[in-house]
Amino acid sequence: MISAEKGVEKTTQEKEVDRIVVRFSGDSGDGMQLTGMQFSDTAALFGNDLSTFPDYPSEIRAPIGTVAGVSGFQVHFGSREIFTPGDEYDVIIAMNAAALKVDLPRLKRGGIIIANTAGFDKKNLNLAHYPDGADPLEDDSLENYILYKVDVTKHTKECLKETGLGMKEIERSKNMFVLGLLFWLFEKPLDHTLHFIEEKFSKKPEIANANILTLKAGWNYGENTEIFNTQFKVAPAKLQAGVYRSITGNHATAIGLIAASEKSGLPLFLGSYPITPATDILHELAKYKGNNVKTLQAEDEIAGVCSAIGASYVGNLAVTTTSGPGLALKTEAIGLATMLEIPLVIVNVQRGGPSTGLPTKTEQADLLMAMHGRHGESPLPVIAASSPSDCFNSAYEACRIAVEHMTPVILLTDGYIANGSEPWRFPTEDNLSEIKVNFLDKPNGENDTILPYKRNENLVRPWIKPGTKGLEHRIGGLEKQNETGNVSYDPLNHELMINLRAEKIKKIENDIPLLKVDSGKEKAKLVVLGWGSTSGAIKTAVLELIEEGFDVAHVHLHYINPFPKNLGELLSGFDKILIPEMNSGQLLQLIRAKYLLPAVGFSKVQGLPFTTTELKNKIIALLNS
C-alpha cells in the first residue's frame, strides 16, 4: 500500500506500457458510463486502439450502494491492435464498496485500485455485504494490489464550495474528479472532455463550470499530491493509416441502414418498438429526418415488423429492429414476408434469454431461432456482425441482399458489440458496393399479363409498387400458383413453391464472398470457427497461440445462411474444429448437420463474452486431447 509521505519533494515516474484495461465501477447513478465514454473517446482521439464494454444492470436505479446496482464500464486501450475489452483489469475505479466487491475478482495481481473512501463507510460496507467489522481498505485483504484511497466526495465538495451549488449538483460532479485523475494517471489531455462539458451544459453555465473545476481538480490531485508517483504512458497505436471515428455497434447498424438507403435510392423506413439493447438504433435513426428517414414507433413488436412489411410493399427499404423476445413476437409476420417475397431487414440485437432473461447482458442464443424460428418451410438469409464497426458492413449487406433477392434477412448482433465501441476507419460513399433496385413498370407476361412471381435467373421475383399503372394485382399469405401468384391449393404446386423459395435463398451463396482464414494458415492442426461477437476474443487467442508456436487458425463466419460455398472445403483443411459460442452449441449443430464433421463445441452462457484466456486454455486442451 502506498501512503502520502509529507515533506518530500514529489518525483513522478513515467512508465511505458503497451495496453491497459480500466474498469470504471460505481452506482448506476454515479455516471460511470459517461466517465468511461469520455475516457475512451480521449484515448481514441490520442491514437490508441481500443475496445469498450459497458456492463450495467437492467434496473435504471437499483438501490444505492448494493451489488445489484453496480454499473461498470470497461475500456481496453493500447499502443497495439486491440480486439476485445480485455480479460482482466489493470485498474479499477471503485466508487463504493459494492463496486469493489463486484470487480475485484477480475483485477490482476498487482493491479491498481482507486477507491472512493466516502463509498466505504459502514453503511456502504453493509450494503455490499462485507462481514461486520470488515473493511477492505483498512485490513490486509488488498495487499496484493496497489491501493489508492481517495475521498472523491470530500475533494469534490471542497473544490465546489464557493460555487453556491446544492449538495445534489455537487455530488453529481464527482465522476469528473475521477476522470481528471485518470487523465493525469495516463497522461491524456483534458481538451476533449472540456469541449464535451461546454457543449452538454451550454444552457447551464454554472453546471458546466462545476464540472470543469472538478475535472481539473482531479488532474491537479494526481499532479500535486504525494500519493501518486507513477504515470503510465500508452503510446498511439500503429493502426492502418487513415481517418478514424469511434463507433458503437448500434450506431454502426443505424448508419449502415442509412448508407444502404442512400446508395439504393430507396427511402428508409423503420418500424420498431423499444427494447433493450436494440433501442439505440431507433433513437439514432429518428434523428435523420433530413435524409427522408421515416421512423414509426409502433404499438408493439408485431406492429413494428408489420408496418415495415407495409412500407416494403410500397417500395421502401424497410427495417424492423428488436431483441430476442421481440423476434419471437415477429415470427409470424416474418413468415408472411417470406411468403410474399418482399425485402425486409430484421435486426436482432441478441441478449440473454430465454424469456426476459438477462436484458442488459449478451448472448448468441437466437441463432437457431433466426434460422428456423418460423412455422412451415421458411428459409431466409442470416447475417452476423462480428464487432461494433462490422455492424455497419453487416447492416449494409443485409439491405443489399434483401433488396436484390427479394427476401427478409435477419441480421444478428448482440448486446456486447451493440453497446461496445471501437475506432473505425470508416468508408466513404465511393467505397460502398452498389445496391441494384429494379421495380417492374410494365407487364412481364405474354399478352400483357402480370406475373408477380415470375423469377429471374436467381429465382428472384419482381418488386411491383402499388401506384404503378396497369400492374394491379393481389398478393397474400396463402400459397400461390407459380408465376401468377394466384391462390393455389394444388399439392404439386405447393411443393414446387417450397423448393423455389428454398433454392432462391441457396443461390445467394453465389452473391457473397468466399470465406477466408482470418488468422493462421489454411491447413493447421486446429481451427477455431466462430460467428458474431466472439471474433475479437478468438482472434486475440489464436494470434497469441500462433506467436507461442501452436499450429492453429481462426475462421469467422459472417454469412450463416446460406453458408459461404467453400466453408466445407475450408474446414476440411484442419484436423480439429473448435466452435466457441455464447450458447449451448447452435452453430455447432448446423456445422455438424451440414458437413458431418466432428466439430467440438465450447459454450459459455453467463451473459458475458469469452475471455482470451478461456479460449486459449480450451484450444490447448483440445490440441492435447
Binding site: 473517446d41 482521439l45 491514437g47 498511439p236 497505436a237 493502426l239 492502418q240 493509416a241 487513415g242 481517418v243 478514424y244 471515428r245 463507433i247 448508419i255 442509412i258 448508407a259 442512400e262 446508395k263 427511402p267 423506413f269 435523420y288 433530413g290 435524409n291 427522408n292 421515416k294 414509426l296 409502433a298 404499438e299 408493439d300 408485431i302 406492429a303 408489420c306 408496418s307 415495415a308 412489411i309 407495409g310 412500407a311 410493399y313 410500397v314 417500395g315 421502401n316 424497410a318 409470424e332 409476420a333 413468415g335 470508416f426 466513404t428 409498387k465 402499388p466 401506384g467 404503378t468 400492374l471 394491379e472 394485382h473 393481389r474 398478393i475 397474400g476 399469405g477 394466384n486 391462390v487
Partner: protein, 347 residues
Amino acid sequence: MDTQTIDKSINYVAKDFASEMEVKWCPGCGDYSILKQVQTVFPDLGIAKENFVFISGIGCSSRFSYYMDTYGMHSIHGRAGAIASGVKAANPDLSVWVVSGDGDSLSIGGNHFIHLMRKNFDINYLLFNNQIYSLTKGQYSPTSEKGKVTKTSPYGSIEEPFNPSELALGAKASFVARTLDRDPKHMQAILKRAHAHKGTSFVEVYQNCPVFNDAAFFAYSDKETKKEEAILLEHGMPLLFGNNNEKGIMLDGLKPFIVDLNTSGVSANDLWIHDEKDKTKANLISRFFDTMFNDTHFPRPFGVIYSEDRPIYEEGMAEQIQHIKNKKGKLSLNKILSGDKTWEILN
C-alpha cells in the same frame, strides 16, 4: 381525400374493379353485398385504379382483397391495420382500405385496432361484423352477444361483447359510422363519406353470416321491425324513428329518453338534433347498443355517428421531415459516415 391523383379522364365502371378471381363466399353471405357496393362506389371517387390498395387480415371478410382489381394484400390474422399504417406512412398518395372482421379487428388484432384509431392515418377501415367466427366454422367472437351458444360455448358464452363504435370512439377514432349489408344505398353513401373523411374512417358493417349466425341483424332490415329497431342518423336532423316516424329522442341532461310525438306535444324540432361533431353526444349515441337509459331499450343507430377533423399521422410525419430539411438540410452520406469527431492516423 385530396392527396391522391385524380384522373378525370378515366371513366371507370363497377366491373373495372372486379378481379378475375372467382368469389368464394357462401351463397347468401353479406360479404357479396359489401363487395358490390364498394365496386359500385369506386368509379365515383376519382382515384386512378392503381392508387387503391386493399389490406386485409384473416377471416371470411379478408378474402375481399383478392376480389378487387386494385393492388391488394391478404395478410395475417389481426395485422391488417398495422401493415396499412406502414403502407400509408411510406406512400401517403395511395388510397388505403383495410378490410377486417370482428375477430380479426377486435380479438387478435385489438391492439393494432385501437392504436390505428388513435394515430389517425388517412385510411378507410371496413369492419365486417357478423358476430361470429365463420372461417373456423362457428365459434363466438368478441362481438357475439352474451349467452351465445356456439361450438366453443355449448352452454352459452359468459363474455360481454364489444360495441365496436363505442370502442373506436374510446380509442379516439376521428370518424365512426355504422351501416348494414342489406341496405345498399345507405352503405354506398357511408363508403363515400368514409372516403371523403381525412383521417382514419372506421365503418362497421353489420354483415349476415347465413351459415353460422343467420339473421343476427335482420331486425334492422326487415320491413316489420326496422323502423322500430333502427334509427338513421343524419347530421343536422332530429333523431326520429318508429313505424310512422312518430318517435323521437330527447336529452335530459346526459340521459336520453324517447318521446311519442303524437301524444307528448313535442315537435320534431324540439328533438335531439344529430351533430356529428359533438363527441359527448356521439358517445351517447354509440351506446344505443346494450345500454338501457331510463329502463328503455333504444333503437340501433346507423349512419355517421362521429366525424372530427384533426391532424393525420402521415402529414405530421411529412411536416417534421420538411421542418428538419429546412432547418438542417440533408446530410451527405460522407458526413453521416464520418460523424462529427474524427482523427487521422498517419504512417
